[in-house]
């Protein structure tokens, strides 16, 4: 019942996005839209190339994953396998607290602390960079990744660990060779959910990445993401205009990307469970 309902919603959303963006995609050309290198929706003639936005999103997402995934797995291991009991409770509480911070606040903190810090440390002309975005997003995704991985690690049955210890494994060998492997499906699910949060995030990214729709050559330049573009420009467009519809087309692309990622994650999880 609930499953049916969510399928219907997904189809409805897809249909809505498709209808709103159909005329635009037909007139401008879907290939030109995706591979175009310039996003100048207000110039004359306008140019609706979202390649810079796609690359910006991918770059930031990728950077955030590289930061968040190892830290999250290590933290989850520390919390469930190493930390003494009272420290564990405290850390779990702290992580729940972190998860509850609204993204605008994290973005704001990133803007006033992280951005100047990045500018100074790397000696850049601006601290509003893809790298800042990655760090901020890593922070936002870590509570989800940590707490779900921690659950997965914590629920590895004691008998597996006991078996490894009885074969002469040290604590670290037991963790690496048995606990991590047994918990892997759960850890992957945690990572996927974290990535989901990273991709969908808008506000924090807008505040720290500089919003320049150029194709970035390094991670230390301003970028703009797809979500940020929609959020920033939706208010200024004329309803029904080409620009307005192009934003829906971005939404459609974003929808397809997240859909595919979820699909892959799901297939992967199923394969591992078997």
């Amino acid at each position: 019942m609930c499953g049916m309902l969510s399928v219907i919603f997904v189809i409805l959303i897809f249909g809505f996005l498709f209808v709103e963006s159909f005329t635009f995609l037909k007139n401008f050309g879907i290939f030109r839209f995706i591979t175009g290198k310039h996003w100048f929706p207000a110039s004359n003639p306008p140019s609706f190339g979202i390649l810079p936005l796609i690359i910006g999103s991918i770059l930031i997402t990728f950077g955030a994953c590289i930061i968040a995934i190892p830290i999250s797995i290590m933290s989850a291991l520390f919390i469930s396998e190493i930390a003494p009991e009272n420290l564990r409770d405290f850390l779990k509480f702290l992580i729940e607290l972190m998860a509850a911070i609204p993204s605008v606040i994290i973005g704001f903190i990133g803007m006033i602390i992280l951005v100047p810090f990045i500018k100074k440390t790397f000696n850049l002309s601006t601290g509003l960079t893809a790298f800042s975005g990655s760090i901020v997003l890593a922070f936002m995704s870590m509570p989800t990744m940590i707490s779900i991985s921690e659950d997965a690690i914590h629920s590895v049955p004691w008998k597996y660990k006991e078996g490894a210890i009885a074969l002469g494994a040290t604590k670290w060998q037991t963790i690496r060779k048995v606990v991590l492997k047994a918990a892997m499906p759960g850890i992957i699910a945690a990572i996927m959910l974290g990535i989901g949060r990273i991709i969908g995030e808008t506000m924090a990214v807008m505040m720290v990445t500089g919003n320049a729709s150029n194709i970035p050559k390094t991670i230390f330049v301003p970028v703009r993401t797809m979500t940020a573009t929609i959020a920033a420009e939706m208010g200024e467009t004329v309803r029904g205009s080409m620009h307005y519809r192009s934003l829906f087309a971005i939404g459609l692309i974003l929808f397809l990307i997240t859909f595919i990622i979820n699909l892959i994650a799901d297939l992967f999880l199923r394969k591992i469970r078997r």
């Binding site: 009885a166 074969l167 060779k177």
Partner: protein, 249 residues
């Protein structure tokens, strides 16, 4: 001749005394059974021999246990090396959620000092537990797909690939059906040629069938230790007699 000597050994869970001054000498290449009613401390004693009790909170011991002449409760002992030398098979089969091959090779992989050919060793030990023919074509399959009996055989193979001196069995058949039980018993009997076997069991017939010596425990104390035959036909202690004739436990 004795490769396991337990001397004045006591164990506490916090302030509960679970083992009271145990003295026991166990012969090598022999099967020794430990029997006694539930909660008398059989598992606790068995788990003291490879120091896996160390993983349990609140455990505190007195006295010593000598394995091959070394006191394993000496603080300087290498516990991992001890556990490689004293294998253990648990009550419920506990293969890792990994492939059959990874399960068997686990012990060698984490400590392959003599650079043994692992593939050969895996094959050997699977043959020793009579599992090779069943699994030789699916070594990469997840071990959890095996039947319970096969899983228990796998756990035995996983222990013997380490070529330990002593193998500890904690009620290895209690989750198996009677036919599987009989076959695992036969397997344990063959292990006596090479290993010192200590088996905890609830099942007195099992103890009578496979062991040479039997220790009877009650409320944390070792009541009687003797030839199995003697224990079951002509016990010295009143409590042993009561137990084996089924008057309690």
């Amino acid at each position: 001749m004795f490769n396991l000597i337990i001397k004045n050994f006591s164990l506490y869970y916090y302030n509960f005394c679970a083992l009271k001054n145990i003295n026991l000498k166990i012969k090598e290449k022999n099967i020794t059974a430990m029997i006694g009613p539930s909660g008398c401390g059989k598992s606790t004693l068995l788990r003291s021999i490879n120091r896996i009790n160390d993983t349990i909170k609140g455990v505190f011991t007195k006295g010593n246990i000598n394995v091959l002449g070394k006191n394993i409760y000496n603080t300087k002992i290498d516990v991992e090396a001890l556990r490689r030398n004293v294998g253990m098979v648990f009550q419920r089969p506990n293969p890792f959620p990994l492939s059959i091959y990874e399960n068997i090779s686990f012990g060698l992989n984490i400590n392959n000092k003599n650079s043994i050919n692992i593939k050969m060793a895996v094959k050997e030990s699977l043959k020793d537990v009579l599992l090779w023919d069943d699994v030789k074509n699916k070594l990469n399959r997840n071990a959890l797909n095996l039947t319970l009996e096969q899983q228990q055989r796998l756990c035995i193979a996983r222990a013997i690939i380490m070529k330990p001196n002593i193998i500890l069995f904690d009620e290895p058949c209690s989750s198996l059906d009677p036919i599987a039980t009989q076959r695992i018993e036969e397997l344990i009997l063959t292990l006596k040629k090479e290993y010192t076997v200590i088996i905890v069991t609830h099942n007195m017939q099992q103890a009578a069938r496979i062991s040479c010596d039997t220790a009877f425990m009650l409320q944390g104390k070792l009541i009687e230790f003797n030839k199995t035959e003697k224990i079951f036909t002509n016990p010295m202690e009143k409590e042993t007699e009561n137990y084996i004739t089924g008057r309690f436990g």
